[in-house]
């Protein structure tokens, strides 16, 4: 194991969010969530603590059923925790949601089939008139620029069924950013894509993120994806869903493809894989 990695791994095996709670953009404290179904209970989240800085890119990494999607939705105010609190820059998640603080990018593109690309990327921001004190969506020219950035400039007037899966997911990505929300919640957005498209999408995402300065919570089960994208990777374990480790990634910014060949990258990948395997054995 390289010096870089061992130096960044927290000594405590059940770490609490490493960042300073006073400056945190998102802070999750002591969150428990139990799902009940037909008298059976599943502990989706147990004692979860996590702090995210403004503009930070954090991945939630773990096997299926470890509660990463649940944690994402608890942060976004879509699922209420049974115990514990979530604070979004001084607001509760549901108040933050009313203030249009969140952009959600789901696993499937979930585009509106009757609207063109151009209308789809603006669909969410057009759904609701904004009242005072709410977060404003990106201005039109900025959204147009995002469409160009992801290479869909020629497909503005195409309908979703005319696009490939990768193109649809790019539309979904732009739609997430077009809200201009300070926090982006991404739930395995690239899971259904082929490996080559997926690799391209990572760098597109990084480019958009760098340009907008958004705080990102990114759910994934791909170790390499988590490492190349993130400032920190939160390793989660299943049954009960919990945070097993938090690993800061010591790669510089901006990230590029060459970094995927760097020893530091591979050290991180190896270390995270060991962490995940620890949870399984």
């Amino acid at each position: 194991m390289s010096d870089v990695v061992s130096a960044t791994v927290p000594a405590d095996d059940a770490p609490s969010g490493a960042n300073d709670p006073d400056t945190a953009h998102v802070s999750v404290r002591g969150v428990h969530k139990v799902f009940r179904r037909r008298r059976q209970t599943v502990e989706a989240l147990r004692a979860v603590d996590l702090e995210l800085d403004r503009g930070e890119f954090v991945s939630l990494l773990g096997p299926s059923g470890c509660g990463k999607s649940t944690l994402l939705r608890v942060i976004g105010g879509l699922i209420a925790p049974d115990v514990g609190t979530v604070d979004i820059g001084g607001q509760t998640p549901s108040v933050a949601r009313q203030g249009k603080q969140f952009g959600l990018v789901p696993q499937t593109p979930a585009l509106v089939p009757w609207a063109t690309v151009e209308r789809n990327v603006r669909f969410l921001s057009s759904l609701d008139g904004r009242r005072d004190g709410m977060h404003a969506p990106l201005p039109d020219p900025a959204v147009d620029e995002l469409i160009d950035t992801v290479g869909l400039g020629k497909f503005r007037s195409a309908y979703p069924h005319e696009l490939s899966g990768g193109m649809q997911q790019r539309v979904s990505l732009v739609r997430g950013f077009a809200l201009g929300a300070p926090i982006l919640l991404m739930d395995e957005p690239f899971a259904a894509l082929d490996e080559i498209t997926r690799a391209e999408m990572r760098y597109l995402l990084l480019e958009l993120w760098q340009r907008t300065g958004t705080t990102v919570v990114f759910v994934t089960h791909s170790i390499t994806e988590a490492v190349i994208l993130s400032d920190r990777v939160v390793v989660m374990a299943a049954r009960p869903g919990r945070i097993a480790a938090i690993e800061p990634i010591s790669l510089g910014r901006p990230r590029d493809r060459a970094m995927e060949d760097a020893p530091v990258f591979h050290d991180h990948v190896r270390h995270l894989r060991e962490r995940l395997q620890d949870q399984h054995s």
Partner: protein
């Protein structure tokens, strides 16, 4: 097929591969499928009437039993004013009844789609309305609403109501759950979600209902005229039934005009569906 495949083709330089010939073959195939799409139905319909014409001539069927189609058409042409006047009455009743059923079915479907309790409570009634033959309670409706248009509209609306109701519940519930969650993530209001997501998602279902309801609306209107009217194609059929030997051509003329009205209405609905639902998978021909 994705748009990426539509980009201009590159020069292909593989020996033995004749792209032009393959493209020409594709075009020929497209022509054949177009002929199949438009030609086959025409052949079917014309063939049916030709066989009918032939059968009547060969077996010398008496006119009061079954006139030949050419006779029926000649009869309609001999008194177009009669058929236009009565068709107008029947079309008006069927159309208004159809629209009442659409509005009522959509309104009730909206309430049911938002409340599981109301849906569970109302569904047995809807099924009951549908399975009880309208002809059984049509006289009761005439007693309540009197002879004339009002009763006919109620009967027509009742027979069309259930398909619209069931399909609007299914359609309003058919929104992609991921889209609903996206709407929730920005705290979109119920009304906006209904107007911008649920209603457009329900259009394919409403069109299916409309295609069923066209036929039902005509049944309702004709039936209503049987019981409580002195005009319309249903009334023309009823009077012809009373004097089958003298008025057999009037019976068949009315049947022909009703069939024509139903066919044209169905074509119009299909055309509207094609232009409004071009984004929906049902409107794409398999390649």
């Amino acid at each position: 097929m994705t748009i990426e495949m539509h980009s201009q083709r590159d020069e292909v330089v593989v020996p033995g591969l004749d792209i032009e010939a393959l493209l020409a073959a594709d075009q020929a195939r497209a022509r054949r499928s177009a002929i199949l799409r438009f030609g086959a139905p025409v052949v079917g319909v014309l063939g049916f009437f030709a066989l009918w014409e032939l059968g009547v001539a060969v077996f010398d069927v008496p006119r009061y039993q079954l006139p030949s189609p050419s006779e029926v058409v000649r009869h309609i042409a001999s008194d177009p004013e009669f058929y236009v006047r009565n068709a107008r009455v029947t079309m008006w009743e069927a159309g208004i009844g159809f629209l009442i059923a659409l509005a009522a079915g959509l309104a009730a479907g909206t309430i049911m789609a938002h409340s599981l309790f109301i849906e569970r409570a109302a569904l047995p009634l809807a099924v009951l309305i549908q399975v009880t033959p309208i002809i059984a309670y049509a006289p009761a409706i005439v007693i309540w609403f009197g002879l004339g248009t009002k009763s006919i509209l109620v009967i027509t609306a009742l027979v069309c109501f259930v398909p619209f109701l069931i399909n609007s519940v299914a359609g309003l519930r058919s929104v992609d759950p991921n889209l609903l969650e996206l709407a929730r993530s920005i705290d979109a209001g119920r009304f906006v979600v209904f107007w911008r997501l649920r209603l457009p998602s329900s259009l394919p279902f409403l069109f299916s209902a409309a295609r069923i309801a066209v036929g039902l609306a005509l049944i309702g209107a004709v039936l209503g005229e049987f019981f409580g009217s002195s005009e319309g194609l249903g009334y023309a059929i009823k009077t012809a039934q009373a004097r089958p030997i003298q008025l057999s051509l009037q019976l068949w003329g009315s049947i022909f005009v009703l069939g024509l009205i139903g066919a044209v209405a169905t074509l119009l609905i299909s055309a509207a569906e094609r232009s409004l639902l071009h984004w929906h998978s049902s409107q794409r021909t398999p390649t």
